[in-house]
Symmetry: C2
Subunit: 417 residues, 2 copies
């Protein structure tokens, strides 16, 4: 009996070791890739949300692909925590959009199937999750260059500064119903981690620094303003969860993975996620007393990413003759450049604000970062948490006053002295 | 032969005197309304975009309805200016949404049919288009009260301050493809009227004041920022074209009509349209030397609308326990009130900025306002244009600095002295 018919009309079925090979060989591009070799299938156990399989050719283990499938619940908890499998629809669409614009930073896609909530893509066997690499103090000399290009290209080319109004609205359409994952961000990045809540880490209960954060009303007022921006500002297609756990890399290559939180949202959110997570890694190494070269590399990387993002984004914008926003002949070149500068400062401000939310919510919220939460020495861990929160609070409370990148770097350095 | 089958699945057909009665009597609610009377049908010739018919019962002329149908071109120009008839889809959806929230300010809907791009509604026989009424110096004592309720209720209840994330995204979905009419606003409200353009009124060619406006780069830089906000900020369902020509009223009742430009956009856009158009009427009466009572009534009306909008919007917000933005227990009451105050100032700032764009674009752009463009005396007309532009420029250039409603009123009064 055939379980899988060719094409996109197949009925959803959870894949497992018993039926996965049949599924793979029902797809022409996969057949072609493996030339009908016998296949070895192994489940990778560490996916939080989804099932992930490595598929290797038995005769040539270098031939390998990844299959990722969403199930209608949270994989790491089980069927009692339902989460619609359609999240994979948005991941597929985002991977395809980003791959079209920056193919070198997105795993090669071999097959995508929205009905099956499944994607088959390049196996990144020689790359490591960036968060892990940074805990191990690995330097990635090309990373700032790669990720600033990724951000500038994808944010610019999916915005109203590039697309015409019809294209932009079609893009909004494709991602507008990613409600469930946007709601997770609204709840867990902007809300629950800053108040007494059952989902918070037990470390927060009765912890003095947590109490101080929860009662900082100026901080919370700004968090509301940033949350509102997240909910209502549709600048560009964003990854939506661009922390160092969503990046796989080595010294030569960088890949951005897992964009299931993607939607058309504010420019600053992805930049902020990256800024916040790199800053937390920096703080962890300062607190741990790691050799100075490593935190120095991190802070230089942060600065380079922000500077290069701005340069590249502006270069794309200057190369753009007309757009739905700017009509040829509307405004003088001098005034247009002023407008663009103010626009870039606004992106920086939003990025800093979002970075602050992202950092603070990692301290006591449901999802910690290994860089800090796994520090074993309590005094060092508390020091890292304290510094992170001081930076986060300054980022959030002062985001509207930030004028340039130097000020951002200064805040980080001052709090680490 | 039957031309119209019952129900929503009928094929689109342009209605005319010959087939309209058959269409009307294919609809149960219309049959019931007219109880099978003989009908008298007359086309109203003054629709710019659409065909509009009055349908009256021959035996009881008090029984009357309006039928409005969109054709796939601009009615006032003809088939050589195509404009998709699906604009009526958005008008129907907006009328239905606004009627659900504020039924007393929306014509009663008897039948809507997206396939036929047609709506059948209450005939407003005892009401006049507000722009005309104001040119004739008619006072509408209930207007400020009515329209501030209309604005507060509709803007609040279609925003993320009231809807949950799923409802808000569904609302965005319903209006997201109203691209064509949003594009008209982008082009004609924010762009062409501020530069040399073939669509501008001939009055602009070589006109000194026009040249001055077209070369005011600080003004244009702010216009770009406001245009970008119009294109990317999805606060609430807005009417999209709320000038005094979209309001029909008398001393007792107020109705808002023609929401074909509706989409989920910035809070300040409808308030700004109204502020701008009332201000232009005020300026016209000052320039014309009308008896002081009338402009005084207008300026008081403007102030009351802005004050009452804020009061009513905040009252709705304070009555709202939780929302997708604000979780119970997240922030102290004092800080929440501060946040809300800042939020209201931001709405006011945006409203003032949009009002300035709306006013300035009416001076030399494709669509003038009768209040000013039809002034026969050239000196008086130029005076009205000059004052309007001075107010418009101050509104646009200073929108980000506005702190309260008094400042707005002061700007208008100062320029009219």
């Amino acid at each position: 009996m055939k379980n899988f018919e060719k094409g996109q009309c197949m009925e959803y079925k959870i894949l497992d070791k018993d039926n996965i090979v049949e599924y793979l060989y029902s797809i022409d591009s996969i057949k072609a890739y493996f030339s009908n070799d016998s296949l070895e299938v192994a489940e990778i156990g560490d996916g939080n949300l989804n099932y992930v399989f490595i598929i290797k050719s038995q005769s040539d283990p270098k031939k390998a692909l990844i299959l990722k499938q969403a199930v209608p619940y949270l994989r790491c908890v089980g069927e009692e925590y339902p989460l619609s499998k359609e999240r994979m629809t948005y991941e597929i669409r985002a991977l395809s959009s980003f791959a079209q614009i920056t193919s070198e930073y997105v795993p090669k896609l071999y097959d995508t199937n929205e009905q099956m909530s499944a994607v088959i893509m390049q196996f990144l066997g020689e790359h490591i999750i960036m968060r892990q690499g940074m805990i191990e103090q690995t330097v990635y000399p090309k990373f700032a260059e790669h990720i600033s290009t990724y951000l500038a290209q994808n944010l610019f080319k999916t915005s109203s500064l590039h697309l015409d109004s019809t294209q932009k609205r079609a893009l909004i359409d494709s991602f507008n119903s990613n409600t469930e994952l946007c709601k997770l961000t609204e709840d867990f990045v902007f809300t629950f981690a800053f108040m007494e809540h059952e989902t918070n880490d037990e470390y927060s209960h009765g912890h003095e620094i947590a109490q101080e954060l929860f009662s900082d009303m100026q901080f919370k007022k700004e968090v509301l303003a940033l949350k509102y921006k997240f909910m209502t500002q549709n600048d560009a297609l964003i990854h939506g969860d661009l922390h160092t756990g969503s990046i796989m890399l080595n010294e030569k290559e960088t890949f951005v993975i897992d964009p299931e939180f993607a939607f058309v949202g504010p420019f600053g959110f992805d930049i902020g996620a990256l800024l916040g997570n790199l800053t937390m890694s920096y703080v962890s190494h300062i607190a741990l007393g790691s050799k100075a070269e490593y935190p120095e590399w991190i802070i230089n990387t942060i600065e380079t990413i922000l500077v290069e993002f701005e340069t590249k984004f502006l270069a794309l914008w200057n190369a753009q003759e007309e757009s739905s926003l700017i009509t040829d002949g509307f405004i003088s070149e001098v005034s247009l450049q002023e407008y663009k500068s103010e626009f870039m400062v606004q992106i920086l401000r939003d990025s800093v604000g979002f970075a602050g939310c992202k950092m603070a919510r990692r301290m006591f919220g449901i999802a910690g970062v290994a860089d800090i939460r796994e520090i074993e020495d309590k005094a060092i861990k508390d020091k890292a948490i304290t510094i992170t929160l001081e930076i986060a609070k300054r980022f959030v409370k002062n985001n509207k006053k930030i004028q340039n990148i130097e000020e951002v770097i200064t805040i980080i350095k001052e709090e680490c002295q």
